[in-house]
Every structure is written in C-alpha cells, then in structure tokens.
Amino acid sequence: MTGNSTISLFGILYIMELEKLFKEYYRPLCLYALRFTLDADAAEDIVQECFTALLSHQADKPVPYLYASVRNRSLMWLRSRKPMEELPEDLPMEDAIDRSMEDARLWEAVEKLPLQRRKCLVMSKRDGMSYADIATELGISQNTVRNNISKALDTLRHTLPASLNFILLFF
C-alpha cells in the first residue's frame, strides 16, 4: 500500500484481500469485542484500531492476528475502566471465532427485521419495557406487540444452525 498512483498486481490482490477481510470479519470482530466491553461504540473503536494496526504490520495470518489483538485491546480497555473487576469468561480462540460469527449472523438478522417488529423486540428485550408500555409508545395494541415479538424471535431462531435450533426448542 504505497500512496502512488502506480500500483502493482500484488497491491491490487492485497486490496481485494483486505476488502474481503473487512466484509467477512469486521462485524464478528465487533461482536467479539462487545462480549468484553458490553459497549458497542467502544467495541467498534477497538476493532478499527486493530485493523489499522494490521495494515502497518502485514501479518501472515490476518484472522488470528485480528482476534488476538481485539482481545488484548478489549482487556486493556476493561482494565482502564474497572481496574478491580474480574476478567470475563475467556473461550479458546476457535470457539471465540465461532461464537462471534453466530453473534454477527444474529445481529444482521435483527437489522433485517421489519421496522415495527424490530422496535417491539428491542424495546422489550433490551430496554425491558412491558408490552403495555410498548403498545402505548408505538400506538398499537398489546396483542400486536406480542405477535410482533414472537414472529421476530421465530425469524432469529431460524438464522441459527440446525443443531442450535433444535436445542432452543427444548429450553
């Protein structure tokens, strides 16, 4: 990555590779960081810092490098915020990658929900609002709120792999 307007074939391949890396791992990495920070903005900042570091390091295996550096930076961020607190649960790298992929798929599924279903779901699960409050806020009936939420949850369950789906049916 030189700033020149002439660009080698290697440079082009590198740029395509880089774009692919962003496409495939940016969101999973954000969710991996989110598992530590529990703060979406902080998580995104950390991931961007790690990608910037990758550009100047030219790591041979960018994916493990990214996950490792996101973990390190997230832990640093945590210590700077709450020095006394215990560190959160730490999975082996492969499991952590798998889980971050699954989180990313779900995040995308939520994003793609129809607007009102998403609003109902998020108000209920994230903001802890009652069905009655949501109904008043959105100007719809409580029944509609209940319907929206159950349909939205259905959709999310279907985005998970079959084995997980099966387990969810029982719990």
């Binding site: 700033g3 962003f22 961007q48 699954e102 989180d103 779900l106 995040w107 994230r126």
Partner: protein, 247 residues
C-alpha cells in the same frame, strides 16, 4: 450468555457496518482504492483500440500463382495480375488504396475518391482509367494517371497511349511498346511495326536477346505468346530473315 439474548441486550442501530469500518481505516488512502475502476476502464479502452485496429487492418490479398488472374477489387475496379504478382488492400481503411508487388493491369471505375496504387518504387493516383503498373514502369491505355516516384511527390501526368518509367528517382515518359499487356491478352499483335521494336519487345518479354542482321524490315502479324520458337520461325518465314537468339 446465549447469543440471542446477548445480541438483543446490546443491539444498537447503525453500528458494526463493515463499509463504515473500511472507510474509517482505509479512507485516507481512498485514492489508491479508486484506481480499480480506472484500471478496468483503461483495460477496456486498450482492448477496444486493439480490436478497432485489428478490424481496420483487415487485409484482402490477391495473388496470381502460375497464370494471369483477374480479380474484382472491393470498389468494383478490376485488376489482372501477372503470375507472381500480388495486391493487398485494407478495404475498411480505404478500398481504393492498393499495394502492388509485381505487374498488374488495372481498370479503375470512376469515383470522386482517387484510386491509388503503391508499387516498389512508384506511386500512381487516378480517378478512372485503364493502366498497367510494374515496379517502376507505367503504361496508360485510357484516361490519365498521376505517376510519381517514391517517396517524393514529384509526379507527372501520363495520358492514354503513353508510358513512363522511374529513372534515377525521377518520373520520365518513355515510348510505349507495341503490346505492353501481351501477358494478359496472351497475344502479340503488330501492325506495320519496325522489326527492331518487335525484337526488343520479344526480348524483354522472354528474357532473351534477339538480333537480326537485316535492317529496315516491318512486320504486320499476330502471335500467341505460348512459344518463342514458333514466333521466331513465323517471322523468319514471313520476312525472309535470320534471327539469332542469345540467352
């Protein structure tokens, strides 16, 4: 914590978009990235130019192997090629611009655009005529022809019945031989022609040297071009002369 609960607890609109992240990280170097479409455009233009030039350079070749052959050229003009002669034309560039090696007789159809023939050392430009060009020699039978040496542009106008030749890089008029296109017609015909002229023409045609002891004889006759021996025999009988042949 289960993924669904985790994601729903922390869900936030408009975050974690990889395009936004990509811009934030690589945005400064945006110029580098926007080169990709330029590369594609440049490649497309190069390919287009290549195909266009190939299309324009499409060449028609006309070749006479062992007998004289008549060809109709793309513009409708006719060319008779002596054995071994070759014509090339790029019809998509200019159908009335001909490259010639060897000897050919042209009958050019009338057109506003000039018909040009480029040979080894000469160049002719015509509108609508019948003429023969051979390396540096020109014979005109109909109309008129602008005849120039190559590469200069100092041409002379040669009209029907005249001949010209490039000598020392200058176009000069010469006397037309009695049968300049005998190779195309397959006949020599003479009408009260001095015997010296007849023998000179036959010498040039067959690549030999013919001599006759007697002077002042004239010949009126027609021969086929097939056999020099037969022609010599016929002349000797008709005029009662002796002709010697030197190869």
């Amino acid at each position: 914590m289960k993924s669904i609960d985790f994601v729903l607890t922390h869900y936030k609109e408009v975050v974690f978009d990889w395009r936004k992240g990509y811009r934030a990280v690589c945005g400064v170097k945006r110029r580098t990235f926007s080169i990709m479409p330029w590369l594609y455009a440049a490649a497309a233009v190069a390919l287009g130019a290549f195909l266009f030039i190939r299309y324009q350079n499409h060449t028609n070749e006309y070749l006479a192997y062992d007998v004289a052959q008549t060809f109709t050229l793309p513009d409708g003009s006719k060319a008779i090629l002596q054995p071994g002669a070759q014509i090339t034309i790029k019809p998509r560039r200019n159908p009335r611009s001909v490259n010639l090696s060897g000897t050919a007789l042209f009958s050019v159809v009338q057109d506003e655009k000039p018909f040009t023939v480029s040979a080894q050392s000469s160049f002719v430009k015509v509108l609508g005529t019948v003429f023969q060009l051979s390396g540096n020699k020109l014979d005109v039978f109909e109309g008129k022809v602008l005849f120039s040496p190559k590469p200069t542009d100092n041409g002379i106008l040669v009209v029907a019945g005249e001949s010209a030749q490039i000598i020392d890089g200058i176009a000069q008029k010469t006397e037309q031989s009695p049968n300049p296109v005998a190779w195309a017609k397959g006949r020599f015909s003479y009408d009260n022609t001095p015997l010296e002229s007849v023998l000179e023409e036959l010498s040039n045609y067959y690549g030999v040297s013919l001599r006759c002891s007697q002077e002042g004889k004239r010949l009126t006759a027609e021969f086929s071009t097939e056999s020099l021996e037969d022609i010599i025999g016929l002349i000797e009988n008709a005029l009662d002369v002796t002709i010697t042949v030197e190869k």
